[in-house]
């Protein structure tokens, strides 16, 4: 798989976690691609933390309105039935447990469900934006990312970078498989048949528990 196929593969598998009626917030980058794979006929309410619900696709060229942008500042549209609100209401939705699923990328994630995705000291300090609130408040936190950073494990025993939130990650979906964060550790629930269990273990620093009913990853 090339880089784009790989990202699309992960995004498609994430989309299978969505249920009709869910309020969902997608992070920038790979997580945004999940919107492309929402099954036809399923009602998903995409929340944009800059202040609306009912996030629609990019407008046709020439119809951009800079007063309607997504959390990355890009022109978007709002779907029928959507609503605009201010940042206090937006984070009432986010922090108050009214978001069913948030999908985010990670620099590191560990077996205690800790997530680091907002800074690399001395190198990259973009700020956390709404990520800390999202990870703290959403009912389910899904990390969607490539399994390693050019071969270096990102799923660790313990995060070494500054945390975005402690003990909040529920699920990790990569090109290698689907993992759940449990009290006992990270459980491999599904595996991409292109890889062996040994491959996955070698790309993961955290102790990997193999589910008794390990399934093939389907998209």
């Amino acid at each position: 798989m090339d880089k784009n196929e790989l990202k699309a593969f992960i995004a498609k598998r994430v989309a299978k976690e969505l249920k009709d009626g869910d309020v969902v917030n997608l992070g920038i980058g790979l997580p945004t691609m999940v919107a492309n794979y929402i099954p036809e006929g399923m009602n998903i309410f995409l929340q944009s933390e800059n202040g609306f619900i009912g996030l629609g696709p990019a407008p046709e060229p020439g119809k951009e309105d800079m007063r309607i942008v997504n959390a990355g500042g890009q022109p978007v549209t709002i779907l029928p039935g959507g609503a605009f609100f201010d940042s206090a209401t937006s984070f009432t939705i986010i922090r108050g447990g009214h978001v069913d699923i948030t999908v985010l990328g990670a620099l590191q994630v560990d077996e205690k469900g800790n997530l680091a995705n907002w800074m690399i000291p001395g190198k990259m300090v973009p700020g956390m934006g709404g990520a800390m609130d999202l990870v703290t408040g959403a009912k389910k936190v899904i990390i969607a990312m490539e399994h390693t950073a050019k071969g270096a494990p990102k799923i660790l025993k313990e995060c070494t970078l500054p945390l975005t939130a402690a003990h909040q990650v529920d699920m990790i979906i990569t090109e290698m498989g689907v993992m759940e964060v449990t009290e006992k550790g990270i459980v491999l629930k599904e595996i991409n048949p292109e890889f062996t269990i040994e491959d996955v273990k070698n790309s993961t620093e955290a102790e990997l528990i193999i589910a008794e009913d390990l399934k093939e990853m389907e998209i």
Binding site: M66, R67, I68, D86, S87, A88, S90, G127, M132, D133
Partner: protein, 218 residues
């Protein structure tokens, strides 16, 4: 009571060293004409409270590029490389705050609250130096209110009393910042007569607004 002022008169109220709040999210909902005038008049040593530092050539980002900000309180600075450069060079102090916390700090400032308790940031570097309070077994951080000398906000339709109707995603921090500063100046895309707005549509009541500037269509 005449609240209408020129952009020059409005910006003359902002003095070197003041703390200002500016509504907007990556430039969307920034009062662009007022910001351009602030750049022109080169008001210095400002403490800026804003969601982000936008882009180098759009909205509040221009104030950073022009070295007018001494201290920035924001949730995100990644879209303006100049912010990172000034931060790393020690030319500007940057305080990064989770976005939801920033919104509630501003809201608390305007609502007369002594602070807010949030679970966001517990177990991270954000909790350093802050009081932790446990309520019914859950840990929260005490985050203090934020206030400013001047709030610069943007509205779509504004009547001459200062009642504001917004458009699209421009509300963001504008509604809460309108409550949290000594002096509140709104840049209106369109100014209408008192009575022209349906009170059912008004989001920010005019009592919060001190001055109105004609921004024209942005």
């Amino acid at each position: 009571m005449n609240k209408l002022v020129s952009i020059d008169e409005a910006v003359d109220m902002i003095k070197d060293g003041m703390t200002i709040m500016v509504g907007g999210f990556l430039g969307c909902g920034n009062p662009h004409k007022i910001i351009d005038k602030l750049v022109e008049k080169n008001v210095k040593d400002l403490t800026l409270i804003c969601n982000d530092s936008s882009f180098p050539d759009y909205g509040v980002g221009k104030l950073v590029v022009n070295h007018q900000i001494k201290k920035l309180i924001a949730s995100h600075v990644g879209t303006n490389p100049e912010t990172g450069r000034q931060m790393n060079a020690g030319e500007m102090e940057v305080v990064l705050v989770p976005q939801g916390t920033l919104a509630e700090q501003v809201r608390a400032g305007g609502a007369g609250l002594g602070g807010i308790l949030t679970p966001t940031g517990v177990g991270t570097v954000i909790e350093e130096g802050k009081e932790k309070i446990t309520v019914d077994g859950v840990e929260y951080l005490l985050e203090k209110p934020l206030k400013a000398d001047v709030a610069l906000i943007a509205g779509q339709k504004v009547d001459k009393f200062g009642n504001i109707v917004y458009f699209g995603a421009t509300r963001n921090f504008n509604t809460i910042m309108a409550t949290a500063a000594e002096t509140v100046i709104v840049e209106a895309s369109e100014i209408v007569e008192v009575g022209d707005l349906d009170p059912n549509d008004v989001v920010t009541p005019g009592i919060f607004v001190d001055y109105i500037v004609d921004g024209g269509a942005n």
